[in-house]
């Protein structure tokens, strides 16, 4: 069996742990602690180490799903977890105070670890007045062509779309 690794990075509260839980075939290993930074996010628990889940794409292919803590004080662990990954899925919370600044930060950081980045925008329904185009505009202005989707991290097919896009992108790059 071939084993690969995909990393979920991005903003606190964007749904990284939920995305892995939605997708994983196994019980997810989590490293959560009480969230004491209620200014950043009101959620009760937050990932401080890694999340780990697995999904079998077919009988011959298994993908390890690694989640990272979102807060930049944990940025020391991002390149460690990202080592050897097929690519990195960056999740952003559309309802956050400044999600474009978040995009900037995570692209800058994770692009040092991997060139294969996929962007997922979550919680779009919580801020409907804010256009999704702000992310594409930001990427286009910097001539970045990363695939970008709005997703619901609770929906397995939505998260699977990000994973399949990453693999299709790799296959396309290999073909050239």
């Amino acid at each position: 069996m071939q084993r690969y690794k995909i990393v979920f990075g991005g903003a606190m509260g964007a749904g990284k742990s939920q995305a892995i839980t939605s997708l994983s075939d196994i019980h997810v290993l989590a490293t959560e602690a009480l969230n004491t930074d209620e200014h950043a996010h009101s959620k009760l628990l937050t990932t401080v180490g890694i999340d780990y889940g697995e999904i079998a794409l077919d009988a011959e292919t298994c993908i390890g799903l690694y989640g990272t803590p979102g807060q930049d004080r944990f940025s020391f662990i991002w390149p460690i977890i990202g080592e050897g990954a097929l690519g990195i899925i960056i999740l952003l919370d559309h309802s956050a105070a400044n999600p474009v600044a978040d995009l900037d930060m995570y692209i800058n950081d994770f692009s040092k670890t991997s060139t294969n980045l996929i962007i997922g925008i979550t919680h779009v329904d919580m801020k409907p007045e804010r256009p999704i185009s702000i992310y594409r505009d930001w990427l286009t202005a910097r001539q970045l062509l990363y695939p970008l989707f709005s997703i619901d991290a609770r929906v397995k097919d939505d998260v699977l779309l990000l994973v399949e896009t990453m693999i299709a992108k790799l296959e396309a790059e290999d073909a050239y």
Binding site: L29, A30, T31, E32, A33, L34, N35, T36, D37, E38, T46, V48, G49, I50, P69, Q71, R73, F74, F76, I77
Partner: protein
């Protein structure tokens, strides 16, 4: 009608002052301790007493919270429970990360020491210190 009593997620100032005094006492009782940092389990430095200013408390708090969470997850996978502390031995010193099992505010202590510290003495004093901190937190945390 049920009443839900909640405490604030960050321990009160009175606890922090008491914790600093406890840490000073620990450092006075055990020779060889260089730095002690009290952190929340989500990686924020709450207070510290440092004799070696080369240590960046905020960074150490974040790294230590990750390590403790990872080790606890690992032990959970092998059905081990109640991880209270871990000791890391390097060529030039030791580092210990110990859980402060307070119900209201779970925390951890990070201790760095010289190579020559008496480990048994340190672990005994550290256990008393973490228990004392958990008790203070219980006494000093006010309902929200």
């Amino acid at each position: 009608m049920s009443i839900q009593v909640k405490t604030k997620r960050v321990p009160p100032e009175a606890f922090i002052r008491q914790a600093e005094a406890s840490i000073q006492q620990l450092m006075g009782n055990v020779a060889g301790i260089q730095n002690v940092i009290l952190a929340s389990t989500d990686g924020f430095e709450l207070c510290s007493v440092q004799r070696n200013d080369q240590v960046q408390g905020s960074k150490l708090a974040a790294v230590s919270s990750s390590i403790l969470a990872l080790v606890q997850a690992f032990l959970g996978e092998i059905q081990f429970t109640g991880c209270q502390s871990m000791t890391l031995e390097a060529e030039n010193g030791k580092a210990i990360i110990a859980a402060v099992n307070s119900t209201n505010h779970p925390m951890l202590l990070v201790i760095t020491t010289s190579k020559s510290v008496l480990l048994g003495h340190l672990l005994h004093a550290l256990k008393a210190c973490t228990q004392e901190l958990a008790l203070y937190d219980q006494q000093l945390s006010q309902p929200q």
